[in-house]
């Protein structure tokens, strides 16, 4: 471990995940001295057990689907099977290349990386294996862990994403508990890999945080793909034996499968780290902060999944950058949570930014909201990809576009454009004035804005 006795850093960051390392990298760039304390691997959940490995699995799933469905494009392809060892080697290869890159960055920016488990022991001190690391500012970024339900024990055939990412076989059948982002992504992967999949969601819809139109469309798409699901019926219990799991719901319905994936959300990793002792306010384990991500205690800030809100890696990046700039005195503009883009990488993909129709009506009044759906049936490139779906826009009447919601293969990449539109408060007319490249999928965004501006081109009035 780096010997830091006697040094006082400008910033000490606890936790080297998306939120923590972004803080450290940006702070170092701004000329501050930074210690980054990490007990596992820099990169955290996202790189090692989250975003990256799941998206590698999803790409392997896409490859499998493509080979399965080549005939419809006139290409004689064949899927002979999934080699999970090979899939895992590919996945680990991607992680290790990115990990190497990140380690290089941390080093080249002269961040002092301290390996070990840290605890907050004073308002300006983190203790790591008996060593005191002092900072003028402290940033807490200890991230999250896979939650379970009361009485639902993880073990054996009952797994979370942590174990699911390391399976060395494709299960014959799986029950996925939770129809949120992580649940539907794994459901999508396993179905493509040949498993029988049933998603169980207690709320009335899959991806319940999304605009209802997207939820319904995803349900239709899953039905078509043969992914079974049950909504609006809560988990009651599970038993397991050598043959598999037996899952029951409150209604009495039950499902048998080889495996149960518990994907019911992620809890903040804030227990036993000395946070409360220093006066930090926790709410159900989450660290409460103000608009500037300050905890209200000393010079202690927080970033990433421990802060209530969207649990997304790029929100962590944004908060990390924000905190570093705030500490450096740059007075950055606060992050607007609804302006953060959200992508669910199942097949078909779901992507959104800004507010849902329901939320917009709540904010602006039901009469002051206008929406428009543009069907991908009119979009040449989507036809070529043989995908269906739509773009749904939400605007304030006579005002800017406040929500972009999409479903369809590959639409996740269109959210880059969507986020500029929403965050820059563009009017439909601003977008409609710019002709989109033909034939692309992003053209569907253009067409939707043309239509919302009252001048649809490839759409009926």
């Amino acid at each position: 471990m780096a010997d830091t006795n006697g040094t006082e850093f400008d910033i000490v960051v606890l936790g080297g995940g998306s939120g923590g390392y972004a803080t450290a990298l940006r702070a170092a760039q701004l000329g501050l001295s930074v210690a980054l304390i990490e007990s596992g691997k820099v990169g955290g959940t996202c790189l090692h057990n989250g975003c990256i490995p799941t998206k590698a699995l999803l790409h392997a799933a896409e490859v499998a689907d493509t080979a399965r469905e080549g005939a419809q494009f006139g290409v004689h392809t064949q899927l002979n099977g999934i080699d999970m060892a090979g899939v895992n080697a590919y996945k680990e290869g991607v992680i290790s290349r990115l990990y190497k890159g990140l380690q290089g960055l941390v080093k080249s920016r002269k961040v002092t990386l301290i390996e070990g488990h840290g605890r907050l022991v004073a308002q300006d001190t983190i203790e790591v294996d008996g060593q005191q690391v002092k900072g003028k500012n402290i940033v807490l970024a200890t991230g999250s862990y896979a939650r379970s339900l009361p009485g639902l024990e993880i073990g054996g055939r009952v797994v979370t994403s942590d174990q699911a990412l390391h399976l060395d076989y494709v299960p014959k059948s799986v029950v996925v508990l939770g129809g949120g982002v992580i649940g539907v992504e794994f459901a999508s992967v396993w179905k493509s890999f040949g498993a029988d999949v049933t998603v169980v969601e207690g709320l009335p819809h899959l991806v319940p945080a999304e605009d209802e139109a997207l939820s319904k469309a995803l349900e239709r798409a899953f039905r078509k793909r043969g992914i079974a699901f049950s909504v609006g019926d809560r988990f009651a219990g599970v038993t397991q034996d050598d043959n598999g799991v037996h899952v029951t719901l409150e209604s009495g319905k039950s499902f048998d499968a080889e495996l149960l994936l518990v994907a019911v959300g992620r809890g903040p990793r804030t227990a036993d780290l000395g946070y409360e002792q220093q006066g930090i306010t926790l709410d159900r384990g989450f660290v409460i902060v103000d608009e500037k991500l300050h905890t209200g205690v000393g010079n202690i800030y927080a970033a990433g999944d421990i802060v209530p809100g969207l649990q997304l890696a790029h929100r962590g990046f944004a908060q990390g950058i924000f905190v570093a700039e705030q500490i450096a005195g740059l007075n950055p503009a606060p992050i607007v949570e609804s302006g953060i883009p959200r992508v669910t990488y199942c097949e078909p993909e779901v992507a959104s930014v800004g507010v849902t129709e329901a939320k917009a009506k709540e904010l602006y009044g039901a009469d002051s909201v206008e929406t428009l759906e543009y069907n991908l049936g009119g979009n040449g490139k989507s036809q070529i990809l043989a995908t269906t779906g739509f773009v749904k826009l939400v605007r304030q009447k006579d005002g800017p576009v406040v929500g972009v919601h999409m479903i369809g293969s590959r639409v996740g990449e269109l959210i880059g454009e969507g986020q500029l539109i929403v965050n820059w408060e563009a009017y439909p007319e601003d977008v409609a004035a710019l002709v989109h490249a033909h034939p692309t999928q992003n053209e569907a965004l253009g067409e939707a804005h043309l239509a919302l501006a009252g001048k649809p081109l490839h759409a009926h009035n």
Partner: protein, 60 residues
């Protein structure tokens, strides 16, 4: 002299300028547009913000 464009319904500004104004706490409707077709430019917003800052400092 040109009037602020506020009353004309929608204030014209390229979207990133709209966002810049919000970040600087500038009400676009109070800015005198100097761009073609009465569009508020980035310079208009920056100039307005610096004048507003000068004023608020002066009242201390």
């Amino acid at each position: 002299r040109p009037e602020p464009a506020a009353h004309a319904g929608r204030v014209l500004a390229k979207p990133p300028v709209r966002k810049l104004a919000r970040d600087l706490g500038v009400d676009l409707g109070s800015v005198v547009p100097t761009g073609p077709g009465e569009i508020v430019t980035r310079e208009d917003v920056l100039e307005f913000a610096s004048r507003a800052e000068g004023r608020s400092l002066a009242t201390y």
